[in-house]
């Protein structure tokens, strides 16, 4: 039986971070992952992450994944792929299926970082080919370059449903609707808004009645549900689709903990059955740790920090780190973790209905019910102001732990402040030079540059754009409002892409003067749109 100081199960952000931290202290580590490629969920995340610098905000998930793998390789961490851990015993023996073989390994400490599995809902026709999980859609389009379908309906408006809908559009799919049985959008408003403004309608308090088709999906019928989740007769709506994508939540994959006899509890706020852990991630069995989504569904940013804590705690448990080193490292990581666990969407606020922002501003109800902030609501948020000349309009209206907008501005125009969930606002003496860095860096794509009177009768609006084909200077088309409906004619007067923008182009459109606060997306006229 092969022996290691530390065995890590799962090569996602949590597992890799644990392995890196332990290896830094000289621990001999092996990581097992069932996939052919390491990185867990990270390589499917092609959007920019929220958070602050220490959480690697504004960097795309797959880039963070590559950085982790590079660091692990430099430290000599062994990652065994195509290796599924099928057994874990109290004496820290691990049974691994590798190809046709079943091998036994022994560790002196174990970190379990197996992540989460997707939940499913059933409806008539749910087993038809063409009904897929959101994770499957991401795997197809973001890892293998294959479009999951041409016309897609998304069920679920949590961050996963919102982000995957946006990614489907980036892959060139038509997303016909976003549907959720809950009365309110579950994910970040900024994620919803960037989908809504492209013209995808949201149907809250609706769910799927049936998937249609004989051999595969050819259509779907949704209907409204009442407060007891019963269908309301006569509210059916049909869509012709070839794909139904399901994003109804994740559950921790905590089965291994049950095998080894660790204490496990059912915790709804953590997404299901999770091991009982102390503040170091140690389970009820000394030397066995948990980190990442397996100990509570959260984010890659928090999974990495939990991984570092568990890796450090394991190093200390094994005698490779002193108590002082452990304490200092853990304290710093816990502060970072605490920073992430703030705001309206923090684990502690899950399931609560938030009526007002921390600033006391009523939250946008339209955002919760239809995925965008209504024109009549937007002006009450502090980032939305009127100035002479070009200036950012920051449509970030919920308290989320995020501040790249403040970090990137070379002129210090935007302020979030030391309290990371505060709504961003424009400094009173802001002197914006129109560089566009804030527009391109905002993970929520919530910042627009507006020149309310660029020439008599006209205004210019600069917006982030991450689709193909990229509009060209001189293109004409329509400006769409926050609700994705056409508001006026528009002409592209500038397109800018730089390395610092990291694949987010910024597009400037000229619109009638009275549209400067309404035009938020550009749709090329059909002639230039066809490919």
């Amino acid at each position: 039986m092969k022996r290691y100081d530390l065995i890590v199960v799962g090569a996602g952000p949590a597992g890799m971070s644990a392995a890196i931290e332990a290896a830094k202290h000289g621990v001999h580590v092996v990581v097992f992952d069932e996939n052919a490629r390491p990185g867990g969920q990270l390589f499917k995340q092609i959007h920019k992450f929220f958070g602050s610098k220490e959480h690697r905000a504004k960097i795309r998930g797959f880039v963070i994944g590559q950085e982790l793998l590079d660091e692990a390789a430099k430290l000599g961490v062994t990652v065994e792929l195509d290796s599924t851990v099928i057994g874990l015993y109290q004496d820290k023996e691990v049974v691994v299926k590798q190809g046709e073989q079943v091998n036994h390994y022994k560790g002196d400490a174990i970190v379990v970082a197996t992540g989460a599995a997707e939940n499913m809902v059933t409806f008539e026709g749910w087993t038809l080919p063409g009904v897929i999980g959101a994770g499957a859609a991401q795997t197809m389009m973001n890892l293998h370059g294959v479009r999951p379908g041409n016309r897609v309906l998304m069920l679920g408006t949590g961050n996963v449903g919102l982000v995957v809908s946006y990614q489907l559009k980036q892959a060139g799919c038509d997303v016909v609707a976003l549907v959720d049985a809950a009365p309110h959008v579950g994910g970040y408003g900024v994620h919803a808004a960037k989908v809504a403004r492209t013209g995808v309608p949201f149907y809250l308090s609706h769910t799927i009645k049936r998937a249609e088709g004989t051999d595969h999906v050819t259509g779907v019928t949704i209907a409204q549900v009442d407060s007891h989740f019963q269908f309301v007769p006569g509210t059916e709506k049909h869509f012709d689709v070839d794909t139904i994508c399901v994003a109804v939540g994740l559950s921790p994959m905590s089965q291994l903990f049950k095998m080894d006899g660790c204490k496990v509890v059912d915790d709804r706020r953590k997404g299901g059955q999770v091991p009982v852990v102390d503040d170091l991630g140690q389970t009820s069995i000394p030397g066995i740790f948990a980190a990442g989504d397996v100990s509570g569904i959260e984010e890659a940013s928090s999974a990495m920090i939990e991984g570092r804590i568990a890796g450090l705690a394991a190093a200390s448990y094994l005698g490779f780190a002193t108590d002082d080193e452990e304490r200092a490292g853990v304290d710093a990581n816990e502060r970072a973790l605490d920073g992430l666990r703030q705001g309206m969407f923090a684990p502690k606020n899950r399931g609560k209905k938030v009526e007002k922002t921390e600033e006391g501003i009523p939250v946008s109800q339209t955002l919760l019910e239809r995925g965008y902030v209504a024109d009549s609501e937007i002006e009450r948020f502090p980032g939305v102001t009127h100035r002479v000349g070009i200036h950012p309009v920051i449509e970030c209206t919920q308290n989320i732990p995020c501040n790249p907008c403040q970090d990137v501005c070379p002129k210090h125009c935007i302020k979030v402040g030391s309290h990371i969930t505060a709504l961003p606002q424009l400094e009173p003496d802001a002197n914006c030079i129109g560089c566009g860095l804030c527009v391109a860096s905002c993970p929520g794509q919530a910042i627009f540059l507006v020149d309310e009177k660029s020439e008599p009768g006209f205004a210019e609006v600069t917006l982030p754009y991450e689709f193909l084909p990229l509009p060209q200077k001189g293109d004409r088309g329509q400006a769409l409002g926050r609700d994705g409906k056409p508001v006026c004619e528009a002409e592209v007067v500038g397109v800018k892409r730089t390395k610092a923008f990291d694949h987010t182009a910024i597009v400037t459109v000229k619109v009638p003067e009275d549209m400067s606060m309404r035009a938020r997306f550009f749709k090329a006229a059909p002639a230039t749109e066809t490919d």
């Binding site: 087993t127 038809l128 080919p129 499957a136 293998h144 294959v146 479009r147 595969h216």
Partner: protein
């Protein structure tokens, strides 16, 4: 239906292996070496991977990460192969799985024979 993304706004042009030929129920298709068999099928518009044993219901890709077993097919004569986890190789013979075999439920010897003919192509 599912088609390949020629260029992606964030990921650029997908990096793929060598183009290889394989057969699907006897028909020759092409895909990229090393990509999951299920992706090559998806790109070719194949939706149904198997029919269930009892109720003869169609199944296709569902999880794409090896968990649900909806995508299993008969690959090179071996049934129950998860096509979403199996790398494509030149000359692979992929067949729709009916229950636990590649023989259609209501078909007799004739269909099997013609399928074999196709497979040899």
């Amino acid at each position: 239906m599912g088609t390949r993304i020629a260029e992606h706004p964030i990921l650029g042009v997908p990096q793929k292996g060598r183009l290889v030929s394989f057969t699907y129920d006897g028909k020759t298709l092409q895909g990229y070496e090393g990509e999951p068999v299920a992706m090559a099928l998806k790109a070719a518009g194949v939706m149904v991977h198997r029919y269930t044993a009892k109720r003869h219901e169609p199944r296709g890709i569902f999880c794409a990460i090896g968990r649900c077993t909806d995508c299993v097919m008969v690959v090179d004569g071996v049934p129950n192969v998860r096509t979403c986890m199996t790398p494509l190789a030149e000359g692979m013979e992929v067949r729709t799985q009916y229950g636990a075999t590649a023989v259609p439920f209501d078909a007799g010897e004739k269909d099997e024979a013609s399928a074999k003919d196709g497979g040899a192509a």
